[in-house]
């Protein structure tokens, strides 16, 4: 017990010492965990302060030259300490919890942002990141431009009947995984003025049988090709049953860059929503 007390005294003392040290460093050294977070930091113009990212941060291109700390949920305390960060910024799901505890006891500042995928959480993420980075003006501007795009997307939709839209992960011929409620893809469909028929049935991504796919008869199919450049025709070759749906018959099948959805919605979501709204409501575009 005594050894424990001594140890915790040491840890606390170190914590103060390191906190004091951290203030002396003039340029912040940011570690960004979560592709959405990284993207916002760049959009706010603070990308040059990032010293390391998690393994799924992939946008913008500059990120790819930074050291990688591994998967967001499997961060290593030592790896992070070795980068001597002044702050670690990430989403709620970064972990594991023991790593977070070790980092806290080592005096690393940790900022945790909410993960939810809806318009309000984009606003919250952008504004709170701007505050952390001391770029509040830039944050307001960024959010303004994103919310302007959302308004534009709503305008395009107008009073027209909402099309049903499914989001599929192209799984190379196997049963496709379809986005349900509480997914970034679902929020994106809603922001662009569509209806996701599976949102009322399940949350997260679930495999959907071909029969169910026929029955849902989506007007539009969005798909993530995992960066492979799959064309709509290739998608139909993999899932021939798509040919029998309204989306397949009219050829309204749209590829979405996986980075747009991986880390939750972000600064580029506004533009994407406008683009999709135009595809959902062709008459008005």
């Amino acid at each position: 017990m005594k050894a424990f007390k001594r140890l915790s005294t040491i840890i606390i003392a170190t914590l103060f010492a390191m906190a004091a040290q951290a203030k002396e460093i003039s340029t912040p050294r940011i570690i960004s965990a979560g592709s959405g977070v990284t993207e916002i930091i760049y959009a706010l113009g603070a990308g040059d302060q990032i010293v390391a990212v998690d393994s799924i941060s992939a946008y913008p291109e500059d990120v790819k030259s930074l050291p990688r700390l591994g998967y967001l949920k499997q961060l290593s305390a030592e790896g992070i300490l070795a980068m001597q960060p002044s702050i670690l910024i990430g989403t709620e799901d970064m972990g594991p919890p023991t790593t977070m505890e070790q980092l806290k006891s080592a005096g690393v500042n940790i900022a945790t942002l909410p993960l939810k995928s809806d318009a309000e959480s984009i606003q919250h993420r952008i504004l709170s990141l701007a505050k952390i980075l001391d770029k509040e003006q830039e944050g307001k501007q960024l959010w303004q431009s994103v919310s302007d795009s959302f308004a534009e997307a709503r305008n395009i939709a107008g009073e027209q009947k909402k099309p049903t839209v499914l989001f599929m992960l192209a799984m190379g011929g196997r049963t496709p995984y379809v986005a349900g409620n509480n997914t970034a893809a679902n929020s994106l469909i809603e922001l662009a003025g569509g209806i996701n028929p599976t949102a009322s049935q399940f949350a997260s991504y679930k495999p959907l049988s071909n029969e169910a796919l026929l029955q849902l008869a989506p007007d539009v199919v969005l798909y993530s090709d995992q960066g492979k450049g799959t064309t709509p025709q290739q998608l139909i070759d993999m899932q021939p049953v798509l040919q029998q749906t309204p989306a397949g018959k009219s050829g309204r099948m749209i590829a979405i860059e996986p980075n747009m959805l991986l880390g939750g919605l972000g600064p580029r979501t506004g533009e994407l929503a406008v683009e999709l709204a135009k595809a959902f409501f062709p008459a008005k575009s």
Binding site: M18, L81, P96
Partner: protein
Amino acid sequence: MNRSRKSTTLLVGLGILLPLTMIFSVGTGPISIPSGDIISLLLERLGLIHSDIPEHTRLIVESIRLPRTLLGVLVGSSLAIGGAAMQGLFRNPLADPSIIGVASGAALGAAIAIVLGGVLLSDFPVLIQNYSVSLLAFAGSCLTTFVVYKMGTTSNGTSVATMLLAGVAITALAGAGLGILTYISDDSTLRNLTFWQMGSIAGATWNSVLICLSLLAPVVLLLCRYGSILNAMLLGESEARHLGINVQSAKLTLIVLTALVVGVSVSVAGIIGFVGLVVPHLIRMMVGPDHKILLPASAMLGGTLLLLADMVARVIVSPAELPIGIVTALMGAPFFISLLWQQRKRIA
């Protein structure tokens, strides 16, 4: 060199190798720390000298590397001695704790905690929620061991063959349970599940080290005393009985002790394969099958090898790190294949 001299040399050698590896392990990582610093830090903790090591180094050594190294030794030793005891008990060189379903039972328990924990345990105290994965993994390993043992035991004694078959069946059943849990879990729990199954000792804290030390160290020491009984049982159960050994109670004790070390190890570190299988084989190749040497030597070599694997895991993709189960499988599986290859030649 005769066999007993060889054995003594091996035990002494491993006894020196293990502490050296521990010091080396504390020094290795994304931030490298000279062994001199580590030794003076330890001496300072013992109140022998005063050193001026930077706080940053001190912190990494004391709150991250030292607990991790100790946990590695404990888990590695437990898995290896558990494997050695099972191979002796089942008189089967392929036996390791996973073969009678202990590991898959633990995995199922952990998966239940990870996937359903939020729903099932929300009314329990926070302390229980925090350790729910470990607790349920341990419960899973104990339950499977009990079921397998019960299935294998009749009034005529315990049939090892039945236990092995029961283990295969339970593994399949646990696999199905895992499949269902995988199917109903969402993305993020699915990933937690996957990573848990790859094993890791990165989450070591002084708390988990103390818990493991109090549970594992006594059991490992106790297991070391079963050398002569396991030697006698190698001759066959009835022969062992003629030598005056209470075979039935020895079997029960060995099974319970093995389940305990494996269950505790799996619950803190996830699934780390091949240590329990490969280490006893290595020792047997060096000094033969005498369990009096095999058990303690396996424990020491198991700890050493797991530390080495952990160092690889820590350094190879630094600043990120690999799950240790991947490293042990990468090192263990080719070794095991070469072992089988050699045996094949011997038979032919």
